[in-house]
Symmetry: D2
Subunit: 306 residues, 4 copies
């Protein structure tokens, strides 16, 4: 039974993601993303589950930077979790009496309309996580009347649900990934995603276009690009890429090797099944068969057998 | 005397940026970036100063999203501000007695080495801004012993500096921009930057490559790209671009018009002098003169005068 | 009634093309392509009809080089002429007695199978044109028994047709163009072609890719590219391009102006209706309306009206 | 001692090229390029020497088409031969008496200024080759007074040189290649050229741009591109490419394999030392070492060793 670290405390959306990714795993809550990843790195845990991006908030930059700069880890699975917020309070609280609300800033942003409409006079205070807010509210002497958090957090901390699905959009999704220490990769499935970090050797005009061309010329479709500062001053960035396919695919391997040749440093973060199950469309001439046939042809031609 | 809104309270790095951008301006502190921008939009202020990105933390996503989704504003100036953190406390506090520190999470990240080395046993608590942390520490009954903030915040709230320049890197820089309601643009200087937001008409493989080609074919160099979620689900993004040159430049105007034609929506955020004063290098055949000469030639040729 | 020069003598395929392009024109046969074009340049004729390329033989390099180096001319029309060869002889000649055949080398190439099969023992001699061959054969004392030429040449010179449509392929086509001195261009029809000559400013790796990108980024499709030597040594070339659309089209104008800016010299050879009548497919965002709307938007944005 | 076929008769520029390429070879003159190549194909000769392009006239299309459509041959060497024309006549002929000149049409083009200036009243008649013209003029009863041909032809046929180096340009060069049946390739030298023929799988807008990108993304520089008709109608072409490097080079092999995958058919025509001895400049990240290192890295990463 693997032991997986996650962004705690119990009741976070990340815990929910972990339960869905591996129901049988032992769960090790950690104070923040870095701590969860470090638990996986040191062996305190067999792996970790962390959020990577949210369909409203965007990238979780702590996760991106940990993946880029920390000891190497490999992504082995991803999960898309619809994020539904509930207004949670101690039993017997009435919504009319909620004057002080505690929650994570991302939840404040995503529940703005509900707060304006239903809690126009309430003070809303920022908490380090939605589950921490629920935990705080569950304490008898808490100065807060309610928390905005996942329903699971309410169940965990003995709170009741005053209102459910209170986000401005009902289709908010967070993407979580499971990571582990370097290990054999999940086998290709035909519906895979690969994640990379790329540092430029020298930052020159057109460098990004060159990187994208390494993908496009081999029929590899990008699904996400993020730039992050290298720390060496404004205007210096490195890049996170997600794209379709598995590094075991010939076209993907050649594209990544191409980036490795022309860029400063490429860090491979994993190839793993897509959570949405979408099958990779393979452009003419870029299948493994096409690569294999071309390699045989090239060998013959190099031997002068034209 | 213009009145400029900014991310307050008094003593923030943003206030320092505002003072440098416009020493004579009246200053209107606001609770957060959105409030400062709204003050500019509604006319409560004549403009606003907000942070756009930091050389360690990356983009300030609130600013990016406000620029993309809120009522249009125009960037009219930028400033690069070295960010130096100080450890600030009430008079008579000794560093050996600092057990509880209050500051913004970004400062925690950026001062990690100092904290580990000098304050190994201290509890560090997250504050909404560095200046708010200084303000809180200045209160007689504060539960916190020290704040990490800008020196200016210490001066403002009557704190003393226990240690200065405590960031892990001494070259951390934040980029601030001054914005205002739609207005005539600053004149081109030969050392300008332009900022855009681009939404894709339809998200297809190669869309990003196409956008970059609109720039590169006309010799326009990108200096920053950020992707942000559209809110329509994981995998749907829009883009922020900074690039060299002024929209009044022929090559820049043609590139932006090209994006406007082939993308779903382009929002122009401004052309303004670069804070670093770097002169734009103009590739052969892309100067205003070259465009003007080509337009005259085209007119003659279209009239059959070959 | 215009007077048009052409590659003579009477009976050439070019004469046939001229008759189809302008049945009412007065016809001025010339000894070669250069002479025909010079007649148009000097005013001896109002224009000229010359072959540009053949679906088997490829480009007529004399025509290409005259267009590139000679006094400027404008193409105003094109014609695709199926080329059918006949075996022509003086009356009373039997095919079994044909021992010496006279024709243009291109016709030898294109009738190779017929000659091997039907005239295995004949000597085939090269003539300057197919019509000249027919003319020669028509002379009473000619050393040749038959000519391979257009049927029209046989009619003209009083020859009989021993065999018709004797080409290896029945779908051979030659493309002819009508040219004149610089003049107002034919109006756009929605099914137009444009022809250019481009000389490189400096020959560097990627120069051709850059030229093609000027077309592709604006949705202009190439239909023909030819390289020709500049005369400055092996490895130095200039280029002939045909592409879809009319220089009056906004996307075409911008692409040509772009080439003019970044290349050494661009010579415009004309925009004219396509002989095949194929309507130009216009990619999203590249119609004249899209360009007009983008120009208006750009003007507003440059005025700060965002 | 190898036996090499060439475009005869004795005294052609091709014979001169052959002597320079392989002084010891037995020489087999042939009536035309096709016959010379066929002699190599059938084994009548061990190889052939044929012209490929001329710095004034451009491509020798017969050679290009034979390479593309005929039984496969491999280019094993190239030679650049300065082409100098002489006016040759039977002994005792004076230039003032030259009224009828016989030569190849290419020579007429290239000696136009000399002919206008020195032989304004002469009739110039087209011959199948310059050497054939010299041979004809050497016959006692020849109707021609002089030939324009290589000096070597004059020596061979007993003619005297009335004028030498009479071309309009003194730097005209013809590129010859030596070909043979399929065989082991010449070893890479660091100054190599590779020649290919590429047929498109389906002719779509952007197909040429895609082909060029296969080269450029791997740092392979084109030195020549020629389009030739496929014979399937106007607007359908295939392409000849020359580019820097040897198919044994990793970057060249990968580029050619890429073309093989995405195009209809690629015919490899050979990798051989450049006649001009120019060393191939290798762009960062495209050396064999860079490819080898990237392949090792990829293998490790695919095994999960990040």
């Amino acid at each position: 039974m693997p032991r997986l670290a996650y962004l705690g405390p119990e009741g976070t959306f990340t815990e929910e993601a972990l339960r869905l990714l591996d129901p049988a795993a032992e769960r090790l809550p950690c104070a923040n993303v870095s701590a969860a990843l470090n638990a996986a790195r040191t062996g305190d845990a067999d792996g970790a589950v962390v959020p990577l991006e949210n369909s409203i908030e965007g990238a979780i930059t702590t996760t991106l930077d940990e993946f880029a700069w920390g000891e190497p880890l490999l992504i082995t699975a991803e999960l898309l979790l619809p994020v539904q917020f509930s207004l949670l309070a101690r039993p017997d609280t009435e919504i009319a009496h909620v004057k002080r609300v505690y929650t994570h800033p991302a939840a404040i942003t995503q529940c703005r309309a509900f707060i304006s409409r239903e809690l126009p006079d309430a003070v809303v205070v920022a908490a380090p996580s939605t589950a921490a807010a629920a935990q705080e509210v569950s304490l008898p002497g808490s100065p807060y009347d309610a928390a905005i958090a996942a329903r699971i957090a309410g169940e965990h901390y003995g709170l009741v649900e005053l209102a459910s699905d209170i986000g401005d959009r009902s289709d908010t999704v967070t993407r979580f990934v499971r990571v582990g220490r370097p290990q054999p990769l999940p086998a290709p499935t035909g519906s895979d995603r690969t994640t990379l970090v790329v540092f430029l050797a020298d930052d020159h005009p057109g460098a990004l276009l060159e990187m994208l061309t390494e993908f496009s010329v081999r029929g590899v479709n990008l699904t996400r690009i993020e730039s992050r500062p290298t720390g060496d001053g404004i205007g210096r960035y490195f890049f996170h890429f997600d794209f379709e396919g598995h590094i075991a695919d010939a076209r993907v391997g050649e594209a990544i090797a191409g980036l490795h040749r022309v860029c400063g440093e490429v860090r491979f973060l994993g190839s793993y099944p897509r959570a949405d199950g979408v099958t990779t469309q393979i452009r003419r001439g870029t299948s493994d068969d096409a690569f294999g046939e071309a390699a045989e042809w090239l060998a013959r031609v190099r031997a002068g057998q034209v």
